[in-house]
Amino acid sequence: MADSLAQTASDHGPADPSRRDFITIAATTATVGAVAAVAWPLIDQLNPAADTLALASIEYDLSKVALGQEVTIAWRKQPVFIRHRTPKEIAEAVADDHAPMKDPATDASRTKPGHEQWLIVLASCTHLGCVPTFAQGEYGGWLCPCHGSVYDTAARIRKGPAPKNLYLPDYTFLSDTKVKIG
C-alpha cells in the first residue's frame, strides 16, 4: 500500500520519497511499540501477585523436630523439608563429599556452620517437582516416587533423571532453635 501511495504521489508531481519512508517507519514503529505496551500487562499479570509475594518469609521453631525426625512445612506454598540429621547421616554425607556426582557439593555447603544437624531443603524434586520420600533409595536419603531420582543424606542427586541437588532456600538461624526461611 505504501508503494501505491508513493506511486500516486509521484504521478501528481515531485514528492520527497524520504518523507514517505519516514511516515511508514514512524507509523510501524509506533504500532509495534503500542502492541508491546498492550501485550506486556497482559503477560505480566500472569506473574505472582503482590499478595502471593507477601507470603515470602516464615519462622519455624526447630525444638519441635526430634533427632532423626523430618518435618515438611509450606513456604510460599512450596513444601520444605526440615531434617534433624543423626551423626551417622552426617558422617555418610561427609564421607561421600568427593564421590562422583551430577551436581557436586560438599556436605558443609549444604548446611550452615555450627548447625550441621539441620538440613533445610526445598522438598521439590529438581526433575519435575514431586515430593521425594525419605529412607528409600540406596543412598540413605530420598527417593522420588515419580521418576526414580535418588538423593543422599545431604539431599544431593546421586542417581536418576533429576539434574540438580534439592534446592536450598534462603534461611538464617535466629537462635539455636529458631529458623527464618525466606
Binding site: P48, K77, Q78, S124, T126, G129, P145
Partner: protein
C-alpha cells in the same frame, strides 16, 4: 474439485438472501460436496470427532455453571456438588470426563487412518498440519481439564507437566513462575487453567473450521489413494455420507454410553478422590491413558532436558510426516513393506503406552532379573520404553524416508472405481452411479 455451485434459490426470499448472505448456498454446497464413492468406515471418524467436540462443549458449559475454580472449593464443587447434588450432574460430568477419553480414542483412529492411507501427502499437507494443531490443542485442553477437580492426581499432574518447561536453561524457571502465578501450583494456577480450559475448545472449533475448509479444497483422499478423476468416482456427501457417518456415530454412542453408564470410573485414578495436598506426592503418578506413550518417552531418557526435548520431538515427528515420506504411492494398500513397519510402529506406541503406566523400575517379564545397563535392569520397564522410543523415532526419521526411495509398491489401480467394481472391470464411460455397490 468442489466445482461450481449447483444451488438454485427456489423462492423469492432465498434469492433475496442469496445475493446478500449466501449462507443457504454455503450449506447446500457442503451437502452436495462430491465425495469419493469408496470411503470405508475408517473415514467416519471426522464426523465422530465433530460429535465429540459438540458433546464436550455442551456438557462443559453446563459444568462451568456449577464449578468453583478455587483451591478451597474446587474438589467439593466437583465431587460433592456436581456428582451428588446437582440434578443429573453425575450424568453431565460422566459424559464430559469419559467424553475426553472417547475424543482421544477417535482422534487416534482418525490419525492412524490418515497415516495408513497417506492422507497427509500432497496436496493435503496443510490439512494434515491443521489436524496436528487440533491434536496439540486437544492435549492442552484435556490436561487443563484434568487439573480442575483438584484431587491429588490433578494437582501433581499439573506440577509435573508445568515443570517440564522448567527443563529449559535460563528461561525455564521464569516461565514456570509465570504459568503458576506463584512459586508453586496454587489457586492462581487453577483459576487460569479454568479460564483457558473454557477458551481452548472454541479455538479448536475454529481450527476444525479451517481443517474442513482445507479438506474441501482438494477433496477427500480415499482408501486407494488414487485421485478422483471424474464425476463417476464421487457421490454427494448427502445422503450417502451423512447416513454412513450417522450410522458410525450411533455405534460410537453405544460404546460411549457403555462407559458413561456402566464403567464411569474406568479412566479415573483413585488418588484423585483425595483432595490436592501440596506436601505429599502420591506413590505412583501417571497421566491419562492418551498421554502415556509420551510420558514413557520422557522417562526413558536419563537426562531432564533431553527427555523433555524427546517428548516434544515425538509430537513434532507427526507434523513433519508429509515431508519425511517421499513415496509416490499414497495408500499403504499398495505398500506391503511400509505396512509392516507401520504395524510395528502401532505396536511400539502401544508398548510405550503400557510402559508409561508402570513403575520405571518394574520388570517386564515378572521375576526375571537381568544385568543393569545405563542405570536400569535390561528387563525393566525403562528399557522397554527405550527400545519403543528408539523405534518410534527410527520409524519417522529413517524407515519412512528410506522406504520412499527403496520400496517397490504393488500396482496401483487406474481409478478408485476399479477396486469397487471388482478386478479388471474398468468403469464404463458415463456409467450411472451405482450407490448400492459403494463400499
Amino acid at each position: 474439485m468442489s466445482g461450481p455451485s449447483t444451488y438454485e434459490p427456489k423462492s423469492a426470499i432465498e434469492r433475496w438472501l442469496d445475493s446478500r448472505l449466501p449462507i443457504i448456498r454455503f450449506g447446500a454446497d457442503l451437502m452436495s460436496f462430491p465425495t469419493p464413492r469408496n470411503l470405508n468406515y475408517w473415514y467416519t471418524f471426522g464426523g465422530i470427532l465433530t460429535f465429540c467436540l459438540g458433546v464436550q462443549i455442551v456438557t462443559g458449559i453446563v459444568l462451568a455453571m456449577h464449578y468453583d475454580p478455587s483451591g478451597a472449593g474446587a474438589f467439593i464443587s466437583v465431587e460433592q456438588h456436581i456428582m451428588r447434588d446437582v440434578n443429573y450432574g453425575w450424568l453431565i460430568r460422566g459424559l464430559h470426563a469419559n467424553g475426553a477419553s472417547m475424543f482421544f480414542l477417535a482422534v487416534y483412529l482418525h490419525i492412524l487412518r490418515g497415516i495408513y492411507y497417506g492422507s497427509y501427502k500432497a496436496p493435503r499437507e496443510v490439512l494434515w498440519l491443521l489436524g496436528c494443531v487440533i491434536y496439540v490443542l486437544m492435549m492442552m485442553t484435556a490436561f487443563m481439564g484434568y487439573v480442575l477437580p483438584w484431587g491429588q492426581m490433578s494437582f501433581w499432574g499439573a506440577k509435573v507437566i508445568t515443570n517440564l518447561l522448567g527443563a529449559f536453561p535460563v528461561i525455564g524457571k521464569p516461565i514456570t513462575t509465570l504459568l503458576w502465578g506463584g512459586f508453586a501450583v496454587d489457586d492462581p494456577t487453577l483459576n487460569r487453567f479454568f479460564s483457558l480450559h473454557y477458551l481452548l475448545p472454541f479455538v479448536i472449533a475454529a481450527v476444525v473450521g479451517l481443517h474442513i475448509w482445507a479438506l474441501h479444497v482438494p477433496g477427500n483422499n480415499n482408501p486407494t489413494g488414487v485421485n478422483v478423476k471424474s464425476k463417476e468416482d464421487t457421490l454427494a456427501f448427502h445422503p450417502y455420507y451423512t447416513v454412513k457417518d450417522g450410522f458410525a456415530i450411533t455405534v460410537f454412542m453405544i460404546m460411549f454410553a457403555l462407559f458413561v453408564f456402566y464403567l464411569p470410573e474406568s479412566f479415573v485414578k483413585t488418588d484423585n478422590y483425595i483432595p490436592a495436598n501440596p506436601l505429599v506426592t502420591p506413590a505412583h503418578i501417571v497421566p491419562e491413558w492418551y498421554l502415556l506413550p509420551f510420558y514413557a518417552i520422557l522417562r526413558a531418557i536419563p537426562d531432564k532436558l533431553t527427555g523433555v526435548l524427546a517428548l516434544a520431538g515425538a509430537i513434532v515427528m507427526v507434523f513433519l510426516l508429509p515431508w519425511l515420506d517421499r513415496s509416490k504411492v499414497r495408500s499403504m494398500r499398495y505398500r506391503p513393506t511400509a505396512r509392516i513397519y507401520f504395524f510395528f510402529w502401532i505396536l511400539a506406541c502401544l508398548a510405550l503406552g503400557w510402559c508409561g503406566g508402570q513403575e520405571p523400575q518394574g520388570h517386564v517379564i515378572p521375576g526375571l532379573i537381568g544385568p543393569t545397563f545405563i542405570d536400569y535392569d535390561i528387563n525393566s520397564v525403562t528399557w522397554l520404553s527405550r527400545i519403543g522410543a528408539i523405534y518410534y523415532f527410527t520409524y519417522f526419521l529413517i524407515i519412512t524416508p528410506l522406504l520412499g526411495m527403496l520400496e517397490k509398491p504393488l500396482p496401483v489401480p487406474d481409478s478408485l472405481y476399479t477396486p469397487v467394481l471388482g478386478h479388471g472391470a474398468a468403469a464404463p464411460a458415463g456409467a450411472v452411479a451405482a450407490p448400492e455397490k459403494e463400499g
